[in-house]
Structures are given as C-alpha cells and as structure tokens.
C-alpha cells in the first residue's frame, strides 16, 4: 500500500467537510461537517505513522489527542447551539446576525 492513497482519501474527506461547513444552514450540520474534517486529519496522522513507524508512535498518540479535543469541541459546540436555539428559536447560522455590522 502506498502512502498517497490514504492522503488523497483524507483530502477528499476534508474537502467534503469544507463544502458542508460552507453550505449548511443548521449549526448542528455545520458541526457534523467539522467532525468529518477532524476525521480526515486523524486518517492522515495514522497513515503517516504507518509510513514512518516512529519509535514513540507519535502519529497514533496525536490521533488520540485529536479525538479527545474533538469530543470536547462537540460538547461545547452543541451547548452553544442549544443556548442560541433557546434565545433565538432557531439554530440556523445565517440568521445569527446579532454581531454583524
């Protein structure tokens, strides 16, 4: 197996995430697209670890860190979305224009 096939698959997943991030209206769906992008990053880390086989397993350890931070991110993100929904009766990002000049 060559390394490039995993990198291209990761790039494709990341690009789908970029598309979803830009095009979605609901904030929960924006968060789903962000999870897709973080997952593509994890795939890259594991693929590079499999190619380099570092003595300290750096790629796998940092993939675990990324998973942890992503879990924290989705917890806080959903709490913020919940708060915005409670205050504005909508979770659509294009209606959140309170701080727009």
């Amino acid at each position: 197996m060559s390394l490039v096939q995993f990198l291209v698959l990761g790039a494709l997943m990341f690009s789908f995430g970029v598309y979803g991030l830009l095009v979605r209206r609901n904030a929960v769906m924006v968060l789903l697209a962000i999870e897709l992008m973080l997952n593509a990053v994890n795939l890259n880390l594991i693929a590079f670890e499999a190619a380099l086989r570092t003595a300290f397993a750096g790629g796998q350890v940092f993939a675990i860190f990324v998973i942890t931070v992503a879990a924290a991110e989705v917890g806080i993100g959903l709490a913020i979305v919940l708060l915005i929904f409670r205050n504005r009766r909508s979770a659509n990002v294009d209606e959140m224009d309170l701080m727009r000049w």
Binding site: A11, I46, A57, A71, R86
Partner: protein, 180 residues
C-alpha cells in the same frame, strides 16, 4: 501502478474507500439531519477499518467508542433538542453552493497535488504481528505525559463549560419577568 492491483490489501482499501467517500458525500448533501448523523457513523466506521489495516488497533477502537458511541449520540440529542428541520421539504443548504463547491474543489486539488508531489513514492510499511497498544500506553505515560494531562484538563474545562452554558438559569427568568 501496474503492481498496485495485485496486492490484496489494496482491493480492501478500494472497497472501504468507496464506502467512506459515498458516506462522507451523503453527510454533507443529505437534507435530513438525522440521516447526516447516521452517514457520519458509516464514514467513521470505514475510517476505523482503515486504521485497523494500518496497524492502529487501539486508535481504531477508541474511534469507535468515542465517536460512534458518544459523539454521534450527543449529536442526535442536539438534533432532537434544537428541533432541527428533519423533513425533506426544508431547505438545509444556503444558496451559495457554487462558491462552496469551488472552495472545496480547490482545497482538494491543492492537497492532492502537494501530497502526490511530496510522497508519491512512499510506501506504508508492513503491519507487524504485535500491536502498538503497549507502546502507546508507555508513551502516553512517559514522553507525552504533559500533553496527556493538559488534554485531560481541556476535557474537564469542556465538561464544566458545557454544564454552565446549557444550564437553564431559572433565577434570571424570574428577574426578567419570564424572560427569553
């Protein structure tokens, strides 16, 4: 490229990759939020399969436990609580699809070009017989102990922050006369 198709693991890669691409595409195009979350499960499961192929068993099962077991369930709760639009008639996307597709395509093209030009001939080394789990445990408690503790503190802060943000503050409601 001629010998690429003779390797059995590459066929497995193609099957899983096609599965992941279809699932990821449906995550960002499905009009139903619940379907999007469930396609994310499929995409993550395929990624966990690739991790197993690459000899990262521990990370693969952490992905299954944390993402599929916890994060997606959290998403489903979020979808239900915010009453996100789940009907097919609701417009889930904003009208600037062309711009977003262009940005995504350019991102993909740049990353693919740079990956191929930099790592075009790098091979993934063969997976050994043992697992890397023991090594990861030793490294987390040795070389990476400080980042490990910092990340646990981040989780604690996120836990407290999530509770503070999502808590319904009833005393404010009374002061503002019912508020909200």
């Amino acid at each position: 490229m001629g010998g690429w198709f003779t390797e059995a693991s590459n066929w497995w890669f193609l099957i899983i990759a096609a599965f992941i691409v279809v699932a990821s595409f449906r995550v960002v195009t499905s009009g139903n939020v619940v379907h999007s979350a469930l396609f994310l499960v499929a995409s993550l499961a395929g990624t966990a399969g690739l991790f197993l192929m690459l000899g990262a068993q521990f990370v693969a099962w952490v992905l299954v436990l944390v993402y599929i077991g916890a994060v997606v369930v959290l998403f489903l709760f979020g979808i239900m609580i915010t009453r996100a639009p789940t009907g097919p008639k609701v417009e889930a996307d904003n009208p600037r699809k062309g711009f977003a597709a262009t940005a995504a395509t350019v991102t993909f093209a740049v990353m693919t070009y740079s990956s191929i030009s930099a790592f075009g001939h790098t091979e993934v080394s063969k997976v050994g017989s043992g697992t890397a789990t023991e090594l990861i445990g030793n490294q987390l408690m040795g070389r990476f102990v400080l980042p490990f503790e910092v990340v646990s503190f981040v989780l604690l802060a996120a836990l407290v922050g999530g509770i503070v943000l999502a808590r319904q503050d009833t005393s404010d409601d009374i002061e503002e006369g019912g508020g909200q």
